[in-house]
Amino acid sequence: MTGEQVRWSAEQVLGLAPDAASRKAGIKLSAPGPWSGAARRGDSLWGLCKGSGSKPYMTAVDLADTAVPGYKCSCPSRKFPCKHALGLLLLWAQDSAGTAVVSGPEPPEWAEKWLAGRRQRAEAGAASGAGAPPVDEKAARKRAERRSQRIADGASELERRLGDLVDGGLAGAERLGYAAWNDMAARMVDAQAPGLAARVRELAAIPSSGPGWPSRMLTECALLHLLVRAYPRVDELPDSLAATVRSRVGVPVDSAALIAEHSGAGTLVRDHWLVLAMKDTQEERLTVRRIWLRGRREGRTAMLLSFGAAQRTPELALPPGSEFDADLAIYPGGGQLRATIATHHGPLASSGATPPGTTLAAALAEYGGALAEDPWLSSRPVVLAAVTPIPGERGATDDPVTAGDTGWRLADTEGAAVPLRCSGEKSYWRLAAASGGAPVTVFGEIGADGFRPHTVWSDGEAVEL
């Protein structure tokens, strides 16, 4: 993980920006003009950036962990990374002549201090992870039991409420209003079942989601009902399904323990992972970042999750179209394909590869098969080869929830088609433009309501939609 850092691409750097304004500001600062003493040694990058004040800002970046770079800057910005860090990275990324960012000098004291501190903490963290003191297993088990009991109580309360809702008629749900659902969601949070809370909040939005809402409401109520009924009997279920139920309810899995377990059992999965897509969604004041990967050797698909609280960007940043060699630890409950990175074996590199894909019928069949392991799956990530978008008659609407059918379809070369669902009008047209009416490779999620594209490969380049 140490040694000479491969020069990043500018796209890779821009992928780290927390928002469009930062991206723009970063680009402005990527000219050599405002910088002095910009230099790099090994995995460290630093420089002084002239701001509006008399003292320049001191900016440093630590690239030791390619997926999670560290940033330090003396500017007062609360954005993370700030525009100075982005500007410095861009300066380096675009400096192929090596004139703007000098290579090899000793870091100045302010940078050295921060870098050394950061590496020490990282090593300490790694050490404690590896040789962690044995935890008090008895106390831990007791805590788990207590938690399990609270969830079971919450689940049976929710089960009763859902039964009552149908007994009284779903028509009543329309009059129920957000407050009642919010109370219910809060109860589930108290019961330490955040997964149930999130589903309850989603129910609240359905009655106002336009025509056909009773059908959607019944679907979601039925699936939630299935989940709360499954939880009390989770111990009787097959391992994989039990793990699915726990994760759907919201029981957290300690990723460090998971990595330790897999590496002990020799079940880590090593491959060259191609980054298929990176998508952020806002969920309850939290930015949730999903990164989908595909192993080049084994063709396995995996999803990494990363979270950013408040204004911060999730730390994990892997731009689509890049590739890295790493061990992954796969979470139990295979339907969701969740994984976490255990060990990197090399830096992030950009890849010109277009991944192999499948047909629509095969993709839907795969989704259907995955439901056996996880009946709550609403979609399945899949790479489709040779598919063509067909523009809709009615134009595209921007809201994925209330949107009816836009009429857009995605067709494959076997003459099959599914509804196309993009998160915004721009994405539909970008996909159409990339295709030009000819077949392209697309990555996205296929499910009951159609296909949601995330990435299209155009001219060998991964383009985010």
């Binding site: 600062l29 839907l364 056996a372 009951a448």
Partner: protein, 591 residues
């Protein structure tokens, strides 16, 4: 068929209609509740179990629908893709520089991408690159807002751009504005729904003529102007005939605009139509017709005006002057014939009516007739003649406007005179005359003008000079900045227009060499300012008898020297950015 139905999770291809009916039954019962309906399964919870089973079973058995209505694929774009670095630059341009409607002026932070967009597009088109296809929607949006860049952007967007434009109403403008014969022709069958062809005869040609007529008869005003302009460019006679066919039914303001659309290029065949328009009901229509006739080479109106002008302006024959002198006798009245030829009888306020008539007559008279009238003199010789009784300014101003209307470079050069001549209102008039001259003469004149007079009036003179500025002009402009820096009171914001032009038009290498002198000079000015401030502080302290008195707080904002230093650095940054940008585009793709 499941996927085809928006809500239709639960119906599956295998048991089709029955499954849908079953699901609808479940939804209906759940909606009404136990009191109003016998619930399948007997209770709410039991109904939910049934619904869960139906949902998961339906989802597990999903199959795709049959595809219909795929558009014709886009025509092939044979141009090579942009080099990688240039493609990234394009992303920045599209995101940050092509959005705003107004072209921006001098911007004091960071290299200014917006100012560089036109040059970027020009080079990209010159080199014949195609954009990454996925960026074309944003390019079309940009073309929609930036009419100044529309032609360049659409050329760059190429056949895929037209293919997309045909699919989306917001982009239809691109089909109308398509650069004739380039991308349209290349796209061949690429446009959905049309078998596009660029031939003007055969069934396709007839088709096109029919479409044009329909657009002319039913289109919106802007579309009609577009149709007229396009047809005029392809076939001037047909274009005029199209206009004549509906002329009498058009509203006066539309007649004016259509007439204006002919201005681009006039043909001798247009004369009868324009002559007829001299008696139009609308006053402005009449005036425009007269103006067009006055610039139509050899038109009867220009001839009539030349006769009138000749009667007013002649060489003195009385011998009252020691050298050959022009004497001016303005028209005594504005008769009906003059009015018919577009002379406006009533002068604007503050203007004598006879001089008003004179200038209109001279302006509309064919410039080519003066030489014969004035003893075979060249334009230079005519312009050099003394003019009696203070008529010189009026006469020369009228000739200048005539030179502009008639696009007469020889007269323009004569009227411009040497660039260092101390002529009043020169900059304004010069700029328009300058635009008539060949580029090399233009820059040479501008160089002389700026060397002699500095940058104060330079903006309009420079605006029409071609890119890149040749070294002598670059040197003159930078010399102007240097002089401004050394002169006490001038700030760079007084020169923001010229600075903005410099960042777009300076050759980067030439600019860098010149700036390498200017930047240290500005830094020295900053030092001098600091020393002066320190000296003032010490003197103030001595006067107050307290050497430890703190330096007086400087009023906010950078000093004059600092502003110049920042402006020069900004200019250097932008030039560097431009050089990088050009290098990116000029790398041939490795393939």
């Amino acid at each position: 068929m499941t996927c085809a139905a928006p809500t239709g999770d639960a119906d599956s291809a295998t048991d089709g209609g029955t499954a849908t009916a079953e699901w609808d039954e479940l939804v209906g019962a759940a909606l009404l509740g136990r009191e109003r309906r016998a619930l399948p399964g007997g209770s709410g919870p039991a109904l939910l179990v049934l619904a869960a089973v139906r949902t998961v079973r339906g989802r597990a058995g999903l199959t795709p629908a049959a595809a219909t209505g795929a558009p014709e694929p886009a025509g092939a774009d044979p141009r090579p893709p942009l080099p990688r670095a240039a493609a990234l630059r394009l992303t920045h341009l599209v995101r940050y520089a092509l959005r705003s409607t107004a072209a921006r002026g001098w911007n004091t932070t960071g290299g200014d991408l917006a100012a560089l967009a036109p040059e970027w597009l020009e080079i990209a088109n010159e080199q014949g690159y195609r954009p990454p296809p996925w960026q074309i929607p944003e390019l079309l949006d940009a073309a929609r807002h930036r009419t100044d860049l529309r032609a360049a952007v659409l050329t760059f967007a190429g056949p895929r751009g037209l293919w997309l434009a045909a699919l989306r109403p917001e982009w239809r403008f691109a089909l109308r504005a398509a650069p004739a014969g380039t991308a349209t022709a290349a796209s061949g069958s690429g446009q959905p729904g049309s078998k596009g062809s660029d031939g003007s005869d055969g069934p396709d040609g007839a088709d096109r003529a029919e479409r044009q007529r329909r657009l002319w008869e039913e289109g919106l005003f802007a579309e009609r102007v577009g149709a007229l302009t396009a047809l005029r460019a392809a076939d001037p006679e047909a274009g005029r005939e199209l206009l004549v066919s509906t002329w009498s039914q058009e509203r006066a303001e539309d007649r004016l605009m259509f007439l204006d659309a002919l201005r681009e290029e006039l043909y001798p065949g247009d004369e009868p139509f324009l002559e007829a328009a001299l008696t139009d009901r609308g006053r402005t229509v009449r005036a425009t017709a007269a103006e067009l006739l006055s610039v139509l080479p050899g038109s009867a109106l220009a001839g009539r005006m030349a006769v009138r002008a000749g009667a007013c302006v002649a060489l003195d024959r009385t011998g009252a002057y020691s050298t050959d002198t022009l004497v001016v006798e303005p028209p005594p009245e504005c008769d009906a014939a003059m009015t018919r030829d577009g002379v406006v009888a009533k002068p604007p306020q503050g203007r004598g009516e006879r001089s008003w008539w004179l200038t209109q007559v001279v302006e509309a008279a064919s410039l080519g007739r003066w030489s014969a009238h004035l003893g075979g003199r060249t334009p230079e010789e005519i312009v050099a003649l003394p003019v009696a009784d203070d008529w010189r300014d009026d006469l020369h101003a009228a000739w200048s406007r005539a030179a502009v209307h008639q696009r007469d470079a020889a007269w323009a050069r004569a009227l411009l005179g040497p660039p260092d001549a101390p002529v009043a209102e020169a900059a304004d008039r010069a700029a328009t005359l300058l635009s008539l001259m060949p580029p090399a003469d233009r820059t040479a004149w501008a160089t002389g003008f700026i060397s002699a007079k500095g940058l104060t009036d330079a903006y309009r003179v420079l605006a029409d000079c071609p890119t890149p500025w040749p070294p002598p002009l670059a040197k003159a402009v930078m010399g102007g900045f240097h002089a401004a820096l050394r002169r006490g009171a001038s700030h760079p914001n007084h020169y923001s227009g010229v600075l903005g032009l410099a960042q777009q038009h300076l050759d980067p290498a030439v600019g860098r060499a010149l700036l390498s002198v200017l930047i240290p000079e500005a830094d020295r000015a900053v030092e001098v300012e600091a020393e002066a401030a320190e000296k003032a502080r010490r003197e103030a302290a001595a006067a107050a008898g307290d050497a430890s008195q703190p330096a007086p707080r400087r009023g906010g904002g950078p000093t004059r020297g600092e502003q110049w230093a920042a402006a020069f650095r900004q200019l250097a940054d932008t030039l560097e950015l431009r050089e990088v940008m050009r290098a990116e585009l000029e790398t041939r793709p490795a393939r």
